[in-house]
Amino acid sequence: MGRLLFFFGEAYRALRRNAAPSIAAIVTIAITVLLVGVLVPVLKASGSKTDDVRDQISLKVFLFKSAEKSEIKQLRETIEATPDVAAVEYISPAKALKTLERDLDEKNILDAINNKNPLPPSFNVRLDNPDNLESVQSALAPPDPSGSPQPISPAIEEIVTAEQTDQIREVTGAVKILLAVIAVLLGIASLFLVGNTIRLSIYARRREVEVMRLVGATNWFIRWPFVIEGIVVGVFGAAIAVGILFVGKVIIADPLSDKFALIENLNTIAFAPLVAILVGGAMVVAALGSGVTLRRFLQI
């Protein structure tokens, strides 16, 4: 207990005397945590959004209008038996027409086209995992020796994967990777800045360290104040960032979510766990930064 007080006293003393670099590190950590604090909810939100999109990824198997009922029934069974297929929904021409009418917001399309439904029947094939799109596709239409896909049933006219879904997959993947890379880079930057602060602190306190060694302080006894100093820097930085985040949430995000249901409905992270993650992360990064620096520059 007395020992702990001693460590904190030493760390406090060092921070006060070493104010300039400490404040620089605190501000940098605050900026980093602020950015990560904005990124995490955005990342989470974009993640949940693309999850919605991914759930909708499906194959559309269009059939010939002339397909026999028995053929359709058999094909349905075949598709249902294909691995990675979650559900198969038959869409009759009549149902397809209704969907079209709804999408176009126009009733009685048939009247305009001589009462003859031009739409083919189709299957909507849902997958258990969007990543299995290609394997299912090739199962339904394995490539022939020349390489062009041949449908497994003569009833199949065309198999369509919505091209959009591929693009969405690519874009959301890229966005996620980009955000993650930025977060990691910022994390590394703050690691080095904490390290630098500790390095300056070691330099400023080399006399203390020398005396501590002479009077027989153990290595960890010498190190602890520096580690605590680093963690305090981390916590201060995180606290500032969390304060700004909270103000931003109250002033910007909350009024917006009143107006736009979309924002409110986003499946993003709650504020309390976010704060816990940010403060915890800042502490870990700061402790790591001081630890690595101590190993390199505190020769004891």
């Binding site: 005396v211 501590m212 060694r213 002479l214 009077v215 027989g216 302080a217 006894f221």
Partner: protein, 280 residues
């Protein structure tokens, strides 16, 4: 007459180191410091100490003298294991300090007080805190620290300056603080590197008195010094180093004989030729 006696005693000391029959006789209480053929080579090849053998008994008061660069500081660093010998061994209180694991070195240093010419006080702490520091790092309980620090500061004559900062003290007072810090643990061995190097003669006497008092309480004192007058007046054992070697080891010696090194070497050789008239 006096010179003759000194020479005799000096040879006595040598025979103890070389043949060391006394070491076996005193097995139950080994010398506090024992160097055997210790050689220190710095990175780059510079030889700091060359085959130095030295034995210091408990309770001794010994001066180490020699010109700058003779290896005095190297000897100090060797004793607190700042440096490790390239060959030979260093025993403190019978223990080979280079055989103990690295994480036990702090425990070794707690049993050796160190005093330096530049005091090595922490400028932003009070006298009390500076001394208490040595106890805090060893995990002494607060109440005990308070007690011990007040006692030791009273002993060195600074009982009234507990809350002064080092820059408010004179050089002599600062050195007293640093001695208090070195001695607050009551270590069996106290190393002082030019403790009076920065002080005027009057103040130096006070510091020497203090060291003498500490020695009288049973602590072994090893004092590196350039203070010729002090060494001559104290009439204690003197070890002279030159270019990393012990060239003189004399009980109740002077800072230096009037002769220069060459003459001294000639005399030593002559003395050794005379044979063993020394008694143990």
């Amino acid at each position: 007459m006096a010179t003759a006696r000194r020479r005799t005693r000096s040879r006595t000391r040598r025979s103890r180191i070389d043949a060391s029959p006394d070491v076996h006789a005193r097995r139950e209480r080994p010398p506090i410091v024992q160097l055997r053929e210790s050689t220190v080579v710095y990175p780059g090849g510079h030889v700091g100490l060359e085959r130095v053998s030295l034995s210091i008994d408990r309770g001794e008061f010994i001066f180490i003298v020699g010109s700058t660069g003779c290896g005095k500081s190297t000897l100090f660093k060797l004793l607190i294991r700042e440096l490790e010998p390239a060959s030979g061994s260093v025993h403190i209180a019978g223990k080979d300090i280079n055989a103990i694991p690295k994480n036990r070195v702090p425990q070794l240093r707690r049993r050796i007080g160190t005093v330096f010419q530049d005091f090595k006080l922490l400028p932003n702490r009070t006298v009390y805190d500076n001394v208490a520091y040595a106890l805090q790092v060893t995990g002494t309980p607060r109440g005990q620290i308070k007690h011990q620090v007040r006692d030791i500061l009273r002993m060195v004559g600074l009982g009234a300056k507990l809350h002064s900062y080092p820059d408010q003290l004179s050089g002599g007072e600062q050195q007293r603080v640093s001695i208090a810090r070195a001695f607050v643990n009551h270590p069996p061995l106290l190393l002082a590197d030019e403790p009076t190097g920065n002080l005027d003669p009057e103040t130096s006497i006070g510091i020497m008195q203090l060291l003498y008092r500490i020695n009288r309480s049973g602590t072994t004192l090893v004092v590196v010094t350039h203070d010729r007058e002090m060494v001559d007046k104290m009439k204690r054992r003197v070890v002279q180093l030159h270019e990393g070697r012990v060239i003189r080891d004399q009980a109740a010696g002077m800072y230096a004989s009037e002769e220069d090194t060459t003459e001294f070497g000639a005399r030593m050789r002559e003395e050794l030729d005379v044979g063993s008239e020394g008694t143990v």
